[in-house]
Subunit: 303 residues, 2 copies
DNA sequence: CCAGATAATACTCAAAATGAGCATATAGCC
DNA sequence: GGCTATATGCTCATTTTGAGTATTATCTGG
């Protein structure tokens, strides 16, 4: 957590929900935003629901007219500077939700490619240029100044390795490093150049969500919540790749997916792929239900 | 989440912290409790700290006179029935913290073996008798009645497999199953026989904590926070086993630990083990810091 | 109809990781 | 010295990965 300055408050508290709603459309990982992509959807928590989770679910389904498949609590923030009005503090509870894209009802809501906010995180077409051209030079400058150089340098090497060894799960660590080094801004109006910024700490919350999701797809069958009823193996792979921000070995991906028996053929094929027609698959919700508890796997383990 | 009945409330909200503090002493995984082991330590959150995390840390260190090594947020609860007085709702934010045992300052606080609350979770000396003698018969009865028999039966088979295949991470799923089946009680005064109960949903929170910790030790080097400054490999293994509730293959455990270079020899040996003296090791905090971000491993993967 | 082009799908192979043992070393104790 | 209890070293078969090559099926433009 980054050190911040704020007035000391009293004990009046309100609760806010902040939702990170994710869909994958084509090869793009997308997130629902409001206010011209400057904020995540959020709202005051009304104690009319049985739980936070059901409150969020109802709210999202009202907004998007789309069922909310998978929901998971992300983190609860209650920093001292999280105030709303004089001495009135806010506790923000953030959630990650997986859906499929639908036209959002509200006028200023829209789906955005999440790499608009984190351009350095998409390594599907190779290492993004911005890393070598902007990030590393400025991080090295930052690391070789200031106190604790060794620590800073080590953090840089781990999160932005020069050679191989990119770890796609370190989204939050990378963001916090860039934040400390002053390369990204929080609170909207910053002029730091890297990626589009968001209100308050919403971009940090999005980073948390991406990190969680990238970790989760490796051992729990949550990708399925992002897929249409039937799909080809390549579509499934592209979805995973969109989230992970890196490419996978096609044959091994299939081997692993098929070995887990999470899907079954529909019997039909898709001709839309260009080459040889691909078999269509659907999930086996029954198995998914038990695997949701047991485990799953994706070939994303090592570098 | 289990369905509950409660009056509809308004929007007055307060925040509570609930701490699950874990230590491992000898071969016992222990948790700090208050009120004669009927509750987890908790308190109103004062907005005087920079963040929830620092508030918790300060509070625990004042209580136990012991630094709090690792802290992680567990979950935030805001169920509709979480009230304190008329129409005054409480949001409870739970944390997991790892320490080493110290005499708690407060009078009614004390360390308790966590298997007192979950006797069916300790499989180190074989499958606990209570599973075959009490749990499975009553769960089968419950599953073969009621609606959705297939679903119930599947849940029983997955969480309490008859043959092999015990999955130590399903602590929460097992607890919720037993709760639904009426085999465990919440809120203190229940007379259900299985394990010691706790106030409100504290036992459920403890189950969440155990599940999280059991999952985490497999891929992040958090065990170290529970160890004294120097220790033998067997002590380390016993600590992991205490948490996981299952035994590990000694030679493979060593192979994995040594391969990761997380520890180094102190040069001394311990004669207290009975047989051949064991080398003493200490952590390499420097490596641990980077592995904390990268990864780690323990031979707990498969059955 | 044939020659690319584009994917899908099927197999192969070496390296690494894992699970399960046996073998040997070094103490204390009688 | 023999016995017991652990620590520590080493082997081996099996599985799991990572990375290829080969073959099949469809569409497209000549």
């Amino acid at each position: 957590m980054v050190e911040r300055e704020a007035a000391q408050g009293d004990n009046d508290v309100a609760a806010d929900l902040i939702a990170v709603l994710v869909a994958v459309t084509g090869a793009e990982p997308r997130v629902l935003t409001i206010q011209n992509a400057s904020a995540l959807p959020s709202g005051a928590f009304q104690m009319v629901h049985r739980s936070l989770q059901s409150g969020l679910r109802a709210w999202v389904e009202r907004q998007t007219h789309h069922p909310l498949g998978y929901v998971e609590q992300l983190y609860t923030f209650a920093d001292r500077d999280r105030v709303r009005g004089a001495g009135f503090h806010v506790i923000s509870i953030s959630y990650l939700g997986l859906t499929r894209e639908a036209d959002p009802a509200a006028g200023d809501a829209g789906w955005r490619n999440w790499y608009d906010f984190f351009p350095w995180e998409d390594h599907r077409a190779g290492v993004p240029e911005v890393i070598g051209k902007v990030i590393l030079p400025r991080l090295e400058e930052w690391a070789s100044a200031g106190p604790d150089r060794r620590g800073r340098q080590q953090r840089v090497v781990i999160t932005f390795p020069a050679a191989g060894g990119w770890n796609e799960e370190l989204v939050l660590q990378r963001y916090e490093l860039l934040y400390e080094a002053g390369l990204v801004a929080e609170g909207g109006g910053g002029e730091a150049a890297l990626g589009q910024s968001m209100v308050s700490d919403h971009r940090r919350i999005l980073a948390t969500a991406i990190a969680r999701l990238r970790a989760k797809i490796k051992y729990r069958p949550v990708v399925f919540e992002l897929m249409p009823p039937s799909f080809t193996l390549l579509q499934l792979q592209r979805t995973v790749e969109a989230i992970a921000g890196r490419l996978l070995h096609k044959q091994n991906f299939r081997r692993l997916i098929e070995a887990q028996e999470l899907i079954e053929e529909t019997g039909e094929t898709s001709l839309e792929t260009g080459g040889r027609p691909a078999k269509l698959f659907r999930f086996r919700r029954d198995v998914v239900a038990e695997r949701a508890v047991m485990g799953s796997k994706l070939p994303l383990s090592r570098s």
